[in-house]
Amino acid sequence: MTALLEAPATPEPPATAAPTRRGGRTTVLTVGLLAALLLLALLSAGIGAYEIPLGDVLASVQHRMGLGGHALDRTAESVLWNIRLPRVVLAVLVGASLGCAGALMQGVFGNPLAEPGVIGISAGAAVGAVGAIALGLTFLGNWTVTVCAFVAGLATVLLVYAMSRSGGRTEVVTLILTGIAVNAFAGALIGLFIFFADNAQITQITFWQLGSLAQATWPKVLAVLPCALLGLAVAPFHSRRLDLLALGERPARHLGVDVERLRIALILVVALLTAAAVAVAGIITFVGLLVPHLLRMANGPGHRFLVPGSALGGAVVLAAGDLAARTAAAPAELPLGVLTGLLGSPFFFWLLRRTRRKQGGWA
C-alpha cells in the first residue's frame, strides 16, 4: 500500500514491493479472464443460425435453476439446451484442459516450447481415439474413446519424455525433433486406421481430426468431465514444486522436491487433460502454447498463477475460437483446429525465432 502512495521517482525496496504489485496484477487478470469467459459463454449461447436474445438466455438459465425467469418457446429452448450450451461447456472444458496441460508440460520439461500438440501428445492420443472409432470399439460405452485416447496419450508422453531428455535437461532441438518423429509416426498410424475404416467412419474421423466441437452433446460432456476435472483439480497443487523445478532437477531435489514423484504425477495429469480434450474435440493445437506464454509475459513465470490461469485463459481462447469458427463463415463452419492452427503457427514461429536469438543458435 505504501509503495503505491510513494512518488514513483524514489526506488522502492524491490524485494518486498514486487510480490504486492504482482498480487494486484494477478487479481486483475483473474477477474478479467473470468469476466471474459462469462461474456463469451453468454454470447456463444445466443449467437448462431437461430438467434436467441441475451435476455432470453439469462431468463432460461434462471428458470432451469429455479431462480425465477421463464422458459422459452420449444425451438429456442431446445436449441439453447441441446445444441448451444453443451457446446459452450465443452469448449470451456477442452480449452481449460489444453491450456493447463500446456503450462504443466512446459514446467515439467523446463522448456517453453513444450506443448501437447507440438511434441506429439495430441497426435498420440488421437491414435487411440481414431483406433477406437475405426475398430468400432465400445467396450466401455461412452468412455471408450476417452479411455483409448488416455492410454495412447500416456504412452506417447512417456515416450517423448524418455527420448528427449539427457542429463536431466531437455534441449529445445531434441524436443522439437522428437515431436516431429512422434507426429509422423502417429500420423502414419492414423492413416492406417483410415485405410481400414469404412466411409461413414472416415467422415467421422476426418471431421474430428481437423478439430471441432460441432458434435457436442451432453453425453460427450459427461464422457470428458471426470478426466478434465480431475486433472484441473490436481494440477494447482504442484505449482510450488514446478517453480523449484525451473532451477533444474538437482537443485529442486536440494530444496526438498521429490522430483521423480512430481514428474510421474504431472505426466499422468498432462496425459489425462490432453486425452480429455482430444477425445471429444480432435486435435486442437497451439492453445497450450499460446496461453501460458501470454500469461507469463503478463504476470511472470510463477506457476501458482500460471497453472490455474492457463486453464482459465485456455477456456477463454477456445470459447472465443469456437464462436468465431461457427460465425465467421456462416452458414458454413470452420474447423476449430484449423482456426487455432492458422493463428497459432505464426506465434510459434515468432517464439522459435525469439528462443533461437536468446540462445544464440541451436547448435
Binding site: M1, P13, G110, R240, P251, H254, R296
Partner: protein, 338 residues
Amino acid sequence: MTSTGPVASTAPETSTAPVASTAPATSVAPVTSVASTTSVASMAFVRLRALLPRRRTRALPSPAARGELVAEARGLRVALGGRAVLDGVGIGVRAGEVLALVGPNGAGKSTLLAALAADLAPSAGEVRIGGRPAGDWAAGELALRRAVLPQAAALSFPFPVAEVVRMGRAPWAGTGREDEDEAAVALAMAATEVEAFAGRPFSALSGGERARVALARVLAQRTGLLLLDEPTAALDLRHQELVLRVCRERAAAGDAVVVVLHDLGLAAAHADRVAVLHGGRIAADGPPSEVLDAEVLSRVYRQPVEVFPHPRTGVPLVVPIRATPSLKPDNSPSLTRS
C-alpha cells in the same frame, strides 16, 4: 553483516511453534527497515496459513555443536560411466569450519561434493549426513540440513531475482521457521550484493550476477551444512573475497561450509582446512599452512609451483614457477630467431 547464524540455529531447538516465532523476531530488528513494506495482507496470510493443518510434520534439525561431525564420507567409492571417479575417500566435515576442496580438473572435487550432498549413490563405502546414512533421509528432510550451490546456475523461466532467492526458503514452508523467510531472503541478498537487481529477471543477468543470485538462494536456505561448488568461478576480485568472507561468517556462526575452489590463494587465506584431491583420492588434508606444500602441489597439478608466506600476513602464497624470458636476457635470441 550481522551474524544471524547463531540465532537461526538456536531458535528451532524447541520445535514448538510459539517459541520459534518469537525468538527470531527480536534478532531481525535491523532487517525490518529493508523489509518494512511487507504488506499487512501478506502478514495476515502468513498467520492464516499457520492455522492450517501441516501436511507433514518433519523433525527440524537441531544445531550441531562446534566441531561436531555434520557430514562424513568413509571408504567412499563412486563410479561414473564405469570409471571410479572417487576411490577410498574418507573425509569429515565439522560444524564451524570452512573446508576447501582443491585439486586439478577431473580430480573428483565436484563428485565428492555431490556425494556429500546425497546426490550420488556410492558404489562402496558410505556417506552420513547429520549422523544418518545419506540415503535414509527423505528429500524434504535433507533440504533442512544441507544447501548446495551447483557449478552452473540455470533457470528455465525468467523468474525475478527476488523470487529465485525466495525459492531457497521452500523447504521451511509449513515449519516454525517459516517466519524467518523475509529476514533470511533480505540478509542473503544483502550479503551477496544482489539487492540492486532484485526486480530484474534472472535471465537478464550476467554470469557473475547469476552466480551471486544462486549463492543468495543457497544462503537463504539457512542450513547447517553448505556445499558450494566453485562459488567464485565467475566472480570478480571483490566478489570472490566477499563470497569467502560470507563462508567465514557462516562458519563462525556454527555452520559447516565445504567449498570447491580453484584459486589456491583463496583457499589458503580463508579455509580452516584444505583437502587436496588427486585422481579420485585425497592426497593431503589439513590446515592450509601444512597442506599447501610446494612438493605436493607440484606433483598433483603437474606444474612446478613455489609456496612462500605473504610478507605481511604470513598466509601461504602459491605461485607457478614460470620461465621468465624478460628477466633472462640471454634467452631472448631463441624467441626472436628467424
